[in-house]
Amino acid sequence: MINQNQINSKKVINAWCSYDIANSAYNLSISTVLFPIYYEQVTKDAFGSELIQFLGYSIRNTVLYEYAIATGYLIIIFLTLTLSGIADLGGFRKRFMQGFTFLGAFSCMGLAGFHGLNIGLGIMLPLIAVIGFAGSLVYYNSFLPMIATPDMHDRISAKGFSFGYAGSTLLLIFNMITVSYYQFFGFNDELQAIRFSFVLVGFWWLGISQIAFHFLKEKSGKIDMNRYVWLKGIREILNVFKHIRKNKTQYRFLLSFFFFSMGVQTIIIIASLFGSVELKIGPTKLIMTILIIQLVAIFGASVFGTVSSKYGNKTSLIWMLSIWIFVCIAAFFIINEYQFYVLGALVGLVMGGIQSQARSTWSMLIPKGNNDTASFFSFYDSTEKLAITIGMLGFGSIEHLTGSMRVSALLLSLFFIISLIIISFTNLKKQLVE
């Protein structure tokens, strides 16, 4: 049941956007930067080498982490598919959003209790936190049609994204300061400062989300309970897939997107771990690199936005894919931290660009003027999540076999090459003109 008073209300919209500040902090500070670095350090210290004991197997610490992340994304795929249908039931959204937020935030705080030897906890807590993160996002998104009219959706989504981007970057800067000047803050070492950051991010997530929980009102109304309501998301995906199969341009573009997402998303998740393991770069410098990537990404998105408007989306995507291929091949050869920074800057240049270009290209390719736009975008998001799963499994298994992340980086270049070939044979112009 929609509360009419909150439609297009500035206060409610800002409160909704503030949730992005709350949970983006987890994604950037913990998932991308701090936890991978911390995990690698503490497991190595606890087991005396990079090989750890897990369920009777002797396995490289980073490989186990990569398998765990892939498993986490598989859980997210199934969870999102089922929850999206349930999210449409009136009266449940806020409760579920709160539940997933608590689950995620407390798991995030719990990471502080992971000290290396309790590897089960170190693997399970990030998985539970990621379930909290993804689950709460489903309900966060389902609130959008309740708080704004459709003409406002794009603008509000972009506002939420920029809120999240700014907030998470600010908290990461603060975390970098605590880790760099750990003595000033009264910590014994960098790892203790990172443990503090886990708790801080958990509180940040929990605390800031209260603004959204306070202003987002939902009257519990008559619930249209259907035995098969949870199948809605899966039905939507299947319908969109049937449609895409018939349209050559959409199909090829999505296939190309799938392959480059395997590379892009895996690199985002693995970048700090790569620097730590292969180049022995310390936590402070790694956080700094991720911050540089974040900042360069804004510049990169605008540069490739200009390239796209001048030469077209396809040309822009081809340029970016070529840079990604170069980055992956160069990662195999780099030997010092300065080369890593250069690669980091290059990644930043194409990271924001390729994601925003892909999204805008997809929005131009999907049929206009019908109500299926959301379904096409949820299909697009599911494709991306599946790509992350396969990308991480591919990266992890190659590292498992060879004992080197550098060889895995070469595998990622293969994904980008396949994506480049597919996009070269895709006539985007024809579809865009139609």
């Binding site: 398998y67 598989l74 089922t82 098969y228 199948l231 499994l393 498992h400 004992g403």
Partner: protein, 40 residues
């Protein structure tokens, strides 16, 4: 129409099965061809 419990079972098998099978396959290959890091 698919039953919710069957769906949960399929999800669980996929979630644990795919990474699990890949992990064991890599372990077998690694030991068979003596490649990658070893604790020995």
């Amino acid at each position: 129409m698919i039953d919710f419990l069957i769906f949960i079972e399929i999800s669980m098998v996929t979630i644990l099965g795919i990474p699990g099978v890949l992990f064991i396959l890599c372990e077998i290959l690694r030991k068979r061809f003596s490649i990658g890091p070893t604790s020995e």
